[in-house]
């Protein structure tokens, strides 16, 4: 497994932002973490992305326990294995699109402007490469963010609400890009409250107030492969009503998807 979460919790005082979650993600899987605002999706993503550490439990990435690593080693894991896509893009405002992509190269290994331009070309922004973020639309900025995330060819792309600030047209462009990356074998974990975005993933898990309350597969072939490889359903040790505590996945409906698609599948 590429990612293994073993009974992880993130606790702020009395609040359990993530409560005793166990989850495994194989390489090449596209997983969506869904849930309403405040359900602990982003907290979970930050812990997977080595930007935050769990209060309890263990996170393994490619078999390495993250809690055993110091800050410098965590930074190495981030730059070598993970590509980050943010809802608010977080582009450096005084750098052009291509320079923003090159920043990721700069901290990873060696700057290569030609490669950065190719990444921008891949997201359809070659002709906007020398524009500052303020001169780009939201969709264009998100595509720059995706180009920056994929420039170092990471094994895992973590996307936090990647379409949250985009219109439908740009949402489709971004999702198409994720599909391309997935087809190339990149593992993608998307955090979203948008069921339509989530439905593009092979597998979805749902959080509610930090507790795992459901899991469903959108790709049965992927599910079979997962189970054949020894993969087990996600689970939580939290003893709350509706929690997915056992070996059986609890299905869930996507109300936002129905609203967007008008009930069509």
């Amino acid at each position: 497994m590429l990612l293994e979460l073993d009974h992880i919790s993130k606790i702020y005082g009395d609040l359990h932002a993530v409560d005793d979650l166990t989850l495994t993600v194989p390489e090449g899987e596209w997983l969506a973490i869904v849930g309403s605002s405040g359900s602990g999706k982003t907290t979970l993503m930050n812990m997977i992305g080595c930007m935050d550490s769990p209060s309890k439990g263990s996170v393994k990435l490619e078999g390495r326990k993250l809690e055993d690593l110091n800050a410098s080693q965590l930074a190495d894991v981030r730059k070598n294995m993970i590509g980050l896509v943010f809802q608010k893009f977080y582009l450096v405002p005084h750098l052009t699109a291509v320079e923003n992509v090159m920043v990721a190269q700069y901290y990873h290994s060696v700057v290569d402007e030609k490669q950065a331009m190719e990444a921008l070309e891949r997201v359809g922004l070659k002709d906007r490469a020398h524009h500052l973020p303020s001169q780009l639309s939201g969709g264009e900025q998100q595509r720059v963010c995706i180009a920056r995330a994929l420039i170092n060819e990471p094994k895992l792309i973590l996307a936090d609400e990647p379409t949250g600030n985009l219109d439908e047209k740009n949402e489709k462009i971004v999702l198409d890009l994720f599909r391309q990356l997935h087809e190339q074998g990149t593992t993608i974990i998307v955090v979203t409250h948008d069921a339509l975005v989530a439905s593009c993933a092979q597998r979805e898990i749902m959080l509610n107030h930090g507790v795992l309350v459901g899991e469903k597969w959108n790709d049965e072939q992927a599910r079979a492969a997962y189970e054949a490889a020894g993969g087990r359903p996600a689970s939580t040790g939290a003893q709350v009503e509706g929690a997915q505590t056992g070996e059986t996945a609890i299905g869930f409906a996507d109300p936002t998807k129905a609203a967007k698609t008008g009930g069509e599948e």
């Binding site: 982003t42 930050n46 935050d52 800050a71 930074a75 730059k79 070598n80 405002p93 060696v110 700057v111």
Partner: protein
């Protein structure tokens, strides 16, 4: 593009594409650097200017011949002829009478000049008679004396060939006017004066009377040494002219009156000179007649060395200079400080320097706070960017280097502009107050620019340190 190239590309972008924020940082550094550089320049320049101003009020060091009979002075004495006093006057008096020859004046001046800027003037004193009454005449280089004593008030002009400058007291006593004539007589006997311990110059000193043993000199302290130059054998300090004068007075067998020695020799013959001007200093100079060295040589028929060299020295440690000259016994000269000028000069300059450095220190602290707050605020505004860079895998050290170098650039730019503005301000102040131009102090300029850069970097350390310590997730969540 290399990573180094990317590093500078990011720096360039941060500085020149965020102009308004960069301008804030540069302006803060500029104001600090300008204020500090201006104050520091004034701190350094004002005491120097004051020193120069004080130097215009006469000598702070005098050099007179000693009575040592060994060495070159003996030759000079032999050459002079006038000092060939007989009897028990001895070689010591002869040596004093011969004065300090030109070569020794030059050598002594070189020693003084080696310790700092200097101006000097030489004086050869002779006893002369005007209408049979004795007066002191000084052979001088008018330009040198004028350059040394800016406080002398001269009605008319300075002495030239055939023309003399007379002291106010002399002019009043004789009733002289500028443009008038004066007949000056010279008698070798006055300057040999019979007394076993006195030579020509001491006679001049004695003739000036107890209170005017000092009056043969441009300054009170200097007067004491002039008396010594005149052959006084007792050791005397420039700080205690009175005791010296008293000693002279007790040795004198002549009656003192109105600053002159009364005489019963009614010989009024002599050489006629025009009165070029009348000098009024309110001091002992008013009792002396000044002529060019050539005229004194011609009048006396004798060429000899000078009795006193007066220096206005810019040396920081006059005591050391005096000691170094006095240690050179082979020079046969004795140096003494004019304590009054030196002490007051030092006191005023020390007070000024202390005042300016205190003000500078206060401004430095205020600058640190101002620049520090501005840079700190600017860095704090970029916490999200720092968080993003960390999320992309940057180490805290790498981020620190980027931000510190960027702050240093702000400091350097501000320092350069501020130093230029500070110099402009300091120059304007110097011209307005001292009416003098102010040369640029390159050492201080470089220090000012570097200090501005260091202050900017130091000011950015706390916010950068804070931002790089926290988890990137926390920083990114804050926006």
């Amino acid at each position: 593009m290399t990573n180094t190239g990317m590093f500078f590309r990011m720096l360039f972008s941060a500085v020149f594409r965020r102009r308004s924020r960069a301008a804030m940082a540069v302006i803060a550094s500029t104001v600090g650097a300008a204020t500090l550089f201006c104050l520091a320049m004034i701190c350094i320049a004002v005491p120097q200017q004051m020193n120069q101003e004080m130097r215009a009020y006469g000598a702070n060091l005098i050099v007179t011949p000693t009575g040592d009979t060994t060495g070159a002075t003996g030759d000079a004495a032999g050459d002079s002829g006038a000092a060939g006093a007989s009897g028990s006057s001895g070689d010591a008096d002869a040596a004093k009478a011969a004065g300090i020859d030109a070569a020794m004046v030059e050598h002594t001046t070189e020693m003084v000049a080696a310790k700092g800027g200097e101006k000097h003037a030489t004086y050869r004193y002779e006893n002369v008679r005007v209408n049979a009454a004795p007066y002191v005449m000084a052979g001088v280089d008018a330009a040198a004396v004028r350059n040394l004593n800016h406080h002398w008030v001269v009605d008319g002009s300075w002495p030239t060939a055939g023309k003399v400058l007379v002291g106010r007291d002399v002019a009043d006593a004789i009733g002289l006017k500028v443009g008038g004539s004066i007949t000056i007589g010279y008698r070798a006997s006055d300057n040999a004066s019979g007394a076993s311990s006195a030579d020509a110059s001491s006679a001049a000193g004695e003739s000036s009377g107890a209170s005017s043993a000092t009056s043969s000199d441009p300054s009170d302290e200097g007067a004491a040494s002039h008396g010594e130059a005149g052959g006084e054998t007792s050791a005397q300090s420039a700080e205690s002219p009175e005791s010296d004068a008293a000693a002279q007075s007790s040795q004198s067998s002549q009656q003192m009156q109105d600053g002159r020695v009364s005489s019963d020799i009614m010989d009024t013959t002599g050489t006629e000179f025009r009165v070029a001007g009348i000098v009024d200093t309110g001091g002992s100079e008013d009792s002396i007649i000044y002529a060019t060295n050539a005229d004194v040589d011609k009048l006396t028929g004798v060429k000899r060395g000078v009795d006193v060299i007066e220096y206005s020295s810019g040396a920081s440690d006059l005591n050391a200079l005096v000691t170094s000259i006095n240690d050179m016994t082979s020079m046969h000269v004795k140096a003494q400080q004019v304590t009054k000028i030196t002490a007051s000069d030092t006191r005023i300059i020390t007070m000024l320097q202390t005042l300016f450095w205190i003000v500078s220190l206060v401004v430095l602290v205020l600058t640190l706070v101002g620049v520090g707050t501005t840079i700190s605020s600017i860095v704090s505004q970029r916490r999200n960017e720092i968080g993003l860079r960390k999320a992309l895998g940057a180490s805290s050290a790498a981020i620190g280097v980027e931000f510190y170098v960027e702050s240093a650039i702000y400091g350097l730019l501000g320092g350069l502009v501020g130093t230029a503005i500070g110099y402009g301000l300091a120059s304007w102040l110097c011209v307005a107050v001292f009416e003098r131009s102010l040369p640029f102090n390159w050492g201080l300029g470089v220090a000012s620019v570097l200090l501005a850069a260091i202050v900017a970097v130091v000011a950015s350390i706390p916010p950068v340190h804070r931002a790089t310590r926290i988890d990137p997730a926390v920083v990114l969540r804050e926006e």
